[in-house]
């Protein structure tokens, strides 16, 4: 699956959901969305995107929170899978985008890349609704079901490798949410959620 095949259907269906992106998917998502409810966790903490998104989800139970996490980032904090299910965030949809590499630093192989079974890990941590997609048509067809109903939901998606470079958070970035500081993004999202 290409990243466009992953992101375009999601952009069409996300509605007023919060979308938290991580690392190499950040720029591509910015090409599809400029919503005030987008948050780029790129250039942030090592592997702490899913737990950050969980916090938003617990605070905003009436709103869907979609987290687009990387496989390398998920590996850094696998315990978060248990934290999510223990906290019972029914409105959290946690994607893990599998390309088997740390793409943003030059596509170095992640540990056990190609062998690690994220859906099995998610089930083992207590996720009840777990999906895996590598075929774009099957993904597009199933996405409405994925995004509806109670969660937490875990979605592993096998996506082709890209060549995104490091995130700079500067005027050189085309996506609005990468043209401001992380602090500004955080405070702006809080204001948007308070409306």
């Amino acid at each position: 699956m290409t990243r466009d095949q992953l992101l375009q259907p999601l952009a069409e269906l996300r509605g007023r959901s919060v979308v938290v992106t991580c690392m190499s998917i950040t720029r591509p998502w910015g090409a599809y969305s400029s919503s005030e409810l987008d948050f780029a966790s790129a250039d942030s903490a090592m592997g702490h995107t899913a737990d950050f998104a969980l916090g938003i989800a617990l605070a905003q139970p009436q709103r869907k929170v979609i987290c687009l996490n990387g496989d390398g980032s998920m590996l850094m904090t696998l315990g978060t899978l248990a934290t999510v299910t223990a906290a019972g965030a029914a409105n959290l949809v946690l994607f893990v985008i599998q390309n088997d590499t740390y793409e943003i630093t030059g596509n170095q192989e992640i540990p056990a890349g190609g062998r690690i079974d994220f859906p099995m890990l998610a089930r083992g941590a207590g996720f009840r609704r777990v999906f895996f997609f590598e075929d774009p048509d099957a993904y597009r067809e199933a996405l409405p079901e994925v995004l509806s109903g109670d969660g937490p939901v875990f979605v592993a998606v096998r996506v082709e490798r890209g060549s995104e470079g490091p995130i700079s958070r500067s005027a050189k970035e085309r996506s609005q949410y990468l043209r401001v500081s992380l602090a500004r993004s955080a405070h702006d999202l809080r204001k948007a959620l308070a409306k």
Partner: protein, 179 residues
């Protein structure tokens, strides 16, 4: 000593909705109270670094969270604290239980000595977690104060005020086991 019931009352007075953390001996009494209290939710994490990210997300979503971790967990949290609460400028009060503080050799050395030596880190009578707690907070520019007993609980309100006013994490070091 700090009593868990008094601290919990103070948290409620500050409007805290969530406590995020990982249990240790010093905070056990507080977490036990939270287990029987419907007005403040306790979110358990698997590693302390998660607590700072999760609490940051809660604040963005409109809630008031505090973090409760041991000083060993603070050290584990490094990039979790730096990359979320600190870099996002989240007003977040963090309660850090201070393992090793009560040891007499540590307190003597703390007042009489300059920088720790590498020999200090391997001394059986010194807890190395205690040696690096305050230097770590200073290095990260996280303001901190001490909670030694209930007489210090007025510092909680001051920590919340400073965190809010300066939009930053502020730490309170709990120097003994809560009862």
């Amino acid at each position: 000593m700090v009593t868990a019931r008094s601290l919990l009352s103070e948290l409620k007075a500050r409007g805290v909705s969530h406590v995020v953390g990982l249990a240790d001996n010093s905070s056990a009494a507080l977490l036990s109270l939270l287990g029987n209290d419907d007005s403040v939710s306790f979110i358990a994490v698997t590693r302390e670094g998660e607590a700072f990210a999760l609490a940051s997300g809660l604040w963005i979503g409109g809630k008031t969270a505090v973090v409760v971790v041991q000083n060993t967990g603070l050290l584990e949290s490094g990039d979790g604290l730096r990359g979320t609460a600190q870099r996002m400028r989240i007003p977040l009060v963090c309660f850090i239980t201070y393992r090793g503080y009560k040891g007499k050799p540590f307190r003597l050395a703390k007042t009489e000595r300059g920088p720790w030596t590498i020999e200090d880190f391997s001394r059986a009578d010194l807890d190395s977690a205690a040696l690096v707690t305050e230097p770590t907070l200073k290095a990260w520019n996280v303001p901190f104060d001490f909670l030694e007993s209930d007489a210090d609980l007025a510092k909680v309100a001051r920590a919340f005020s400073r965190a809010e006013r300066e939009s930053r994490p502020v730490a309170l070091l709990i120097t003994g086991d809560m009862i």
